[in-house]
Symmetry: C2
Subunit: 256 residues, 2 copies
């Protein structure tokens, strides 16, 4: 892991890095901390590691949770080159959009392809991040990824025991449900009730597939791109609950 740039503002230290040729960014609290939990965050399709949605969430996770937050560019995204395959898939997505057709079939196929490439990159990134003294090999690790981030996340979680809590959502069950059945960590899952691409049945089926004893669905009124900003509050609280306690106790329940 090589750091290529560092800056500091709004209570965050931002460090650009490269691991195995993959560019990423690590946001950390400005106030030095001996050890803090790490949240891995995967951007959505068509975005990149420093998209405002990523930077905005990272700001909350760092300042409210005291976490480190790392994002890497997905293959073909951000500062990474596009292959001929990427170009063809992007053209297919654009064509569907231009024709007013559902983007789902193209998005699902391309996401599955990207996830397969991204999983080893994320594992190598996590290896490198855990060598930093402010993160460490035995610290708690969470994962945030919706949309493409869920295609990557489900594929990553099923092989990566170091991640112990994840916020996912906005994806189809097709290639992911079978993997989700082997995932048992606490999950918070976002679904848009009026998603024009992902049917309710599809979204609910993926949520249902997780084997997790603690899993929470947050379904909000609104279309695919209208995920409310307050879900970032929920994600922050979720990670604080699961990553900030050394000895996590099972969720207590309220008898009514």
């Amino acid at each position: 892991m090589r750091f290529t740039a560092e800056s500091s503002s709004y209570g965050l230290v931002e460090r650009d890095f490269i691991v195995g040729g993959v560019p990423g960014v690590l946001w950390s609290p400005t106030r030095g901390v001996d050890r803090a939990p790490l949240v891995l965050m995967c951007h959505a399709g068509g975005n990149h590691k420093k998209h405002p949605a990523m930077a905005g969430r990272a700001q909350r996770f760092v300042t409210d949770g005291g976490f480190h937050v790392a994002v890497i560019d997905a293959p073909g995204h951000g500062d990474r080159p596009r292959t001929a395959h990427d170009e063809r898939e992007l053209a297919a997505l654009q064509a569907a959009k231009a024709a007013g057709e559902p983007e789902g079939p193209s998005a699902r196929r391309y996401s599955a392809y990207l996830a397969e490439l991204a999983v080893p990159e994320w594992r190598a990134t996590l290896d490198a991040l855990q060598e930093l003294p402010e993160i460490g090999v035995d610290g708690p690790v969470g994962y945030f990824g919706i949309n493409l981030g869920t295609a990557v996340g489900v594929s990553l979680l099923v092989v990566e025991p170091r991640i112990t809590a994840a916020v996912l959502g906005l994806h189809w069950p097709d290639t992911l449900a079978e993997k989700a059945k082997r995932i048992t960590i606490p999950i918070q899952f976002d679904l848009q009730w009026d998603d024009e691409d992902i049917s309710r049945e599809a979204g609910l089926a993926l949520f249902d597939a997780f084997a997790s004893e603690e899993k929470t669905l947050h379904a909000n009124a609104g279309t695919h791109h209208e995920l409310p900003r307050f879900e970032t509050d929920s994600a922050t609280g979720f990670f604080i609950r699961h990553l900030s306690r050394a000895n996590h106790t099972p969720a207590e329940t309220n008898r009514r």
Copy 2:
């Protein structure tokens, strides 16, 4: 409205009151506030106004939100007498439970009956509470009620414009869906994914019925009585978001 007792502990002032013969409790911040929003909270069937689930939630709403929280005993509950009708319905519920049969049919019928009686009681209680200078006639009012509290709440919200945000859940759509279609205020709705009495389809149908532009479903793994305690955090945040700002702006969304 007549106050019958007052005590103070754990940062709350607790005042027992009676309005029109109905006993209630008002929890308020100990530190005097000129004006603070009010949350009306309805207990679940078989409970009462000071059940630990009520007192526990009130504690959070008061200390974290700075709100006043009022609960009244439902007809036939808590300090109120049971009629012969109440006794028959309770016997039917007990018989279903003892026989291992679903409590749903009895619970739905009895809840609908209680809601009809409770709505005018809640409106009279709100009238009286708003005469208190620390609440006032033009302050924000929220509503919390799951289970029986949703039967009462949906029936109340449809006739009560003073309530501008509500947390509901854990109920069937049967008698409520038509009313819910006329409700447009922000709603947070709790559903238990493995509820042994209320099917997923039934719970989702009631959530779906609300006409609210902002509505959020929180579906958690677990049975009917296993609503996670962290949903109280969510409810607290929801009320802070909707009741604590004088000029509420529509939920912002995060493009990903």
